[in-house]
């Protein structure tokens, strides 16, 4: 067997075990006959369940509502930041994209701290809801609002990328025939952006369907159950015995996501079509005398949605005890020191750090041979594996976690041990879900190099392993590094997978923030969340430097 065959076989086993087996088994679990043997009995039983139909209903309403907000905020932001000359566009872009750095459960927590009766900021202004009332965000509307803002960057990026492909000639042609800027915007630029907007909207919809952090923090206290929280509550309440039933719920979730992804695929075919790249970019329209007014309004809006909740989070973390008014005299770091002394949180820090580090390095390393075989050697099996790696990222995280439980709850064949409830099952789930984040940038960078570089290696006698090590690896390293960093930033805050897979001893940071808040210990939750946000922003800074230096186009806020 040649080195290439061994490599392919190894990669196929890896993808098979971590992707095909869990998702395939979950599917067969959901499609099993019912207790009386009727075809698809489990699925039909689940669909008749009233709790499921209510959750399905809630999921669709919240996802559509959140998508509407994402589309509005994302599109307006893209148009303002890319097509006008308002002051401070670079920092505004970073602020608008900040939700991508902050995990959903922390955004939700920040908004809770901002809007509740005990909100330190609202109390400072004396406009907080009266004590004793429930937080207005513990509702369907709250979920829609927070998820909408959380996913707005997806639309923003999609539309900004669309704007980048509109050639300047198009607007200049409009001006030559005498159209004014407003008309050019509405009649020329906007229509050419519809596919990008639709693609971004579909992505926001899929993300909203699969979101767990926001509905978990806002919906569980507000008694608004969506599909992801339904699965979580069922599994938490009844244990693995309901696995078949929740597998059916997961299938419904996958169905919804598939609709969104189909729309996205359809829209992407028209969006960002490879237009003539040689033409120069659109020039921002001058706002003239409205520049300052419009600029201030947009700055204010951005600060309110991106910065204010984080300030609320920080303020809550500084409150010495629940209900005490925050002032320079009462502010204390007691919550931070409590958090840092807590054993479980200490474990969560090291678990999350280790998980993120292992996931990032393994995925970054493996993405190089997969992308090499798929994009340079154009091997059919490797291209199939490359496509399969999409699945665990395309389906909601809850589905991946369920698949892991289905296959890893029983003892592993041959070894005879079960990894359920251990660190290993978390790692397996992370590896499965996040591989794509490294595979795509690495694939893009390898697809852009001349295949002759590899062929030249073959002709001088270098075999597969030598070419991988000495030719491909050095060229793929920058994008693998950037992809790995992206994985690290995402994995360190992971909640959706962890919430279903953790157990005592394998807590993660995401789980700890969720549980501290769930237990009513919101000052500690806020303190931990503040630390996590600070850490994430620090990482973003590193990513920014690496991205600028080595791999332009990988770090999202550097687009354009």
């Amino acid at each position: 067997m040649s080195g290439e065959h061994i490599l392919l076989a190894g990669l196929a086993v890896y993808i098979g075990v971590l992707v095909v087996w869990p998702l395939g088994r979950l599917l067969t679990e959901a499609l099993r006959p019912g207790e009386a043997g009727q075809v698809l009995g489990v699925l039909f039983d689940a669909l008749e369940n009233r709790a499921l139909s209510r959750a399905l209903n809630n999921t669709i309403i919240t996802a559509l509502g959140a998508t509407a907000i994402s589309v509005f905020v994302g599109t307006v932001a893209a148009l303002v930041l890319r097509l006008t000359d308002i002051p401070g566009r670079a920092p505004l872009m970073f602020l608008m994209l900040m939700p991508m750095l902050i995990p959903p459960q922390i955004s939700a927590l920040a908004w809770i701290e901002l809007s509740g009766p005990s909100s330190p900021l609202l109390n400072l202004l004396a406009i907080a809801p009266p004590p004793g009332t429930t937080n207005p965000l513990y509702s369907m509307g709250g979920i829609i609002w927070v998820m909408g803002l959380e996913h707005a960057p997806l639309v923003l990026l999609s539309v900004a990328a669309g704007i980048a492909t509109v050639p300047r000639d198009l607007t200049e042609a409009g001006r030559i025939v005498g159209a004014r800027p407003r008309r050019i915007l509405l009649k020329i630029v906007l229509p050419s952006l519809y596919p990008s907007i639709l693609a971004g909207a579909a992505l926001a919809f899929v993300s909203a369907i699969g979101n767990f952090g926001v509905p978990a923090l806002l919906g569980i206290p507000g008694r608004v159950t969506v599909l992801t929280t339904l699965i979580y509550q069922r599994l938490n309440g009844f244990g693995p015995s309901v696995l078949g039933q929740v597998a059916a719920v997961a299938l419904v979730l996958v169905g919804l996501a598939a609709i969104g992804l189909a729309i996205r695929t359809y829209a992407s075919r028209f969006a960002g079509a490879p237009l003539d790249r040689t033409g120069s970019r659109l020039e921002p329209f001058s706002l003239g005398r409205w520049r300052l007014a419009a600029g201030s309004a947009f700055w204010l809006f951005t600060l309110v949605i991106a910065v204010l909740p984080l300030l609320a989070l920080l303020a809550s973390a500084l409150v010495p005890a629940l209900g005490v008014r925050l002032s320079p005299e009462t502010a204390s770091f007691a919550n931070f020191s409590n958090v840092l002394r807590n054993d479980a949180i200490g474990r969560a820090f090291s678990n999350s750090f280790l998980l993120a580090l292992l996931t990032a390095s393994i995925c970054a390393m493996l993405s190089i041979p997969i992308a090499y075989m798929a994009c340079i050697r154009r091997n059919r099996i490797a291209r199939l594996l490359d496509g399969l790696a999409d699945l665990p990222y395309a389906v909601p995280g809850t589905v991946v976690a369920l698949g892991m439980i289905v296959v890893f709850l029983p003892p592993i064949p041959v070894l005879g041990i079960s990894i359920y409830g251990t660190f290993a099952i978390l790692l397996a789930a992370y590896l499965s879900r996040f591989l794509l984040l490294a595979l795509r940038p690495v694939g893009a960078s390898l697809a852009s190099i001349d295949p002759a570089l590899d062929e030249a290696g073959r002709v001088v006698g270098a075999r597969t392993w030598s070419r991988l090590a000495f030719i491909v690896f050095p060229m793929a390293l920058p994008s693998a590094l950037a992809g790995g960093l992206l994985i690290f930033m995402t994995a360190i805050n992971e909640l959706t997978l962890s919430a279903l897979l953790w157990s005592t001893g394998t807590e993660t940071l995401g789980v700890m923030v969720f549980f501290l808040q769930y237990e009513g210990n919101s000052p500690s939750a806020a303190a931990l969340a503040t630390l996590v946000v600070a850490f994430s922003l620090g990482l973003a800074l590193v990513a920014d430097l690496i991205g600028r230096r080595f791999a332009p186009g990988v770090v999202p806020w550097q687009v354009g």
Partner: protein, 356 residues
């Protein structure tokens, strides 16, 4: 230096064949050009010899050893040949020295030996002073020299060149042609060279294989191709030649053929095969006179006149329906649309199995 032998090689990528029953024998130390219009299959043929593609049928042997066909396939890693790619394919993260030495290090050549052979290869291409540069610090011509040195360091018996001059400007192209010729002479290595530029092929090659639509039309020395083309495709492709349909009416005493063209009978050398034939005519062999006065001259209509610096290129049409076109070179202009007489000073008759 090794020989290359292809027999009955075909290659298709799913649909229509890209190469159709190609047979070719290249002698040891020969410099052969594969010439043809784009899409004729010449690059695929080169890649098949390199082992970068697998033939769909037929046998390929290098140095008498079977490389592909009849159930065997030797991977390019094991063929021990050199290849120069169109866009150089230098590894961007390696210095010139490392690019040249990579093949030696994967073959576990000892360090001092490696250094010596890298030095020798760089000396041959005249780049010994640039050993520590990176590819992006070099000019196009220098990069192509590094690519050549990378082959030479391995001392292969066969070097394949895939349009190696296509990315260079005209001046560099001439000096690189000189370079290839010199290296070929010095090393005695067999060279197989792909190009779509006939001037390049003529200047460099011992023999040229003209390809069209996946087949080899003719393989011959440059002079033979030019003077005695075998097919109308070769006659038309090489040297801006025109092919005029003629009837072969008999033999002249001199061993020439008597051909009838538009009612005038001319004596021309050529190959007798069919009743109809093609008369291959080069622009420099067409002489224009003011009127079609005597027997030897054909009437023609001037269609266009273009000044090419030093001479005029004159487009002519024969016959009442103006269907047959040819070109002539003249030192004095003629006016468009006027009727002139032309005299064919030289020509070559070839069979026309495709004419009825």
């Amino acid at each position: 230096m090794v020989s290359v032998s292809l027999s009955g090689v075909t290659k298709h990528f799913g649909g229509a064949p890209v190469l159709d029953d190609v047979s070719l024998d290249i002698r040891e130390g020969e410099f052969v050009a594969l010439l043809g219009p784009s899409g004729c299959g010449k690059t695929t043929l080169l890649r098949l010899i390199a082992g970068l593609e697998r033939p769909s049928g037929g046998i390929i042997a290098i140095g008498g050893k079977a490389m592909a066909g009849q159930g065997t396939f030797i991977e390019p890693e094991d063929r021990n040949l050199g290849m120069v790619f169109q866009a150089y394919a230098l590894w961007p993260h390696m210095s010139v020295k490392d690019n040249v030495g990579f093949g030696l290090s994967v073959r576990k050549v000892s360090r001092p030996d490696r250094a010596r052979r890298i030095q020798a290869a760089l000396d041959i291409v005249g780049l010994s002073g640039h050993a520590d540069r990176r590819p992006h610090e070099l000019s196009g011509g220098q990069r192509q020299r590094v690519a050549l040195a990378r082959c030479l360091a391995l001392e292969p018996g066969l070097i394949l060149l895939d349009e190696p001059l296509a990315n260079l400007d005209a001046n560099l192209r001439a000096s690189m042609q000189e370079e290839f010729r010199r290296v070929h002479k010095k090393t005695g290595t067999t060279f197989v060279f792909v190009t779509h530029d006939q001037a390049e092929a003529m200047a460099l090659a011992d023999r040229i294989a003209v390809m069209d639509k996946g087949r080899i039309e003719q393989i011959a020395t440059p002079r033979e191709l030019y003077e005695r083309p075998l097919t109308s495709m070769v006659a038309g492709f090489v040297g801006r030649g025109a092919v005029l349909p003629v009837h072969i009416v008999g033999h002249a005493d001199s061993g020439r053929l008597r051909v009838d063209i538009g009612g005038r009978v001319l004596e021309m050398p050529g190959v007798n095969g069919t009743a109809r034939g093609w008369l291959s005519v080069r622009p420099e062999h067409v002489e224009i006179t003011q009127t079609a006065a005597n027997e030897e001259q054909l009437p023609a209509i001037v269609e266009h006149v273009t000044y090419r610096g030093g001479l005029y290129e004159i487009g002519l049409a024969l016959g009442a329906d103006r269907k047959v076109k040819l070109e002539a070179h003249a030192h004095e202009p003629v006016s468009p649309d006027c009727l002139v007489g032309i005299k064919l000073k030289k020509g070559w008759v070839l069979p026309a199995p495709d004419l009825h």
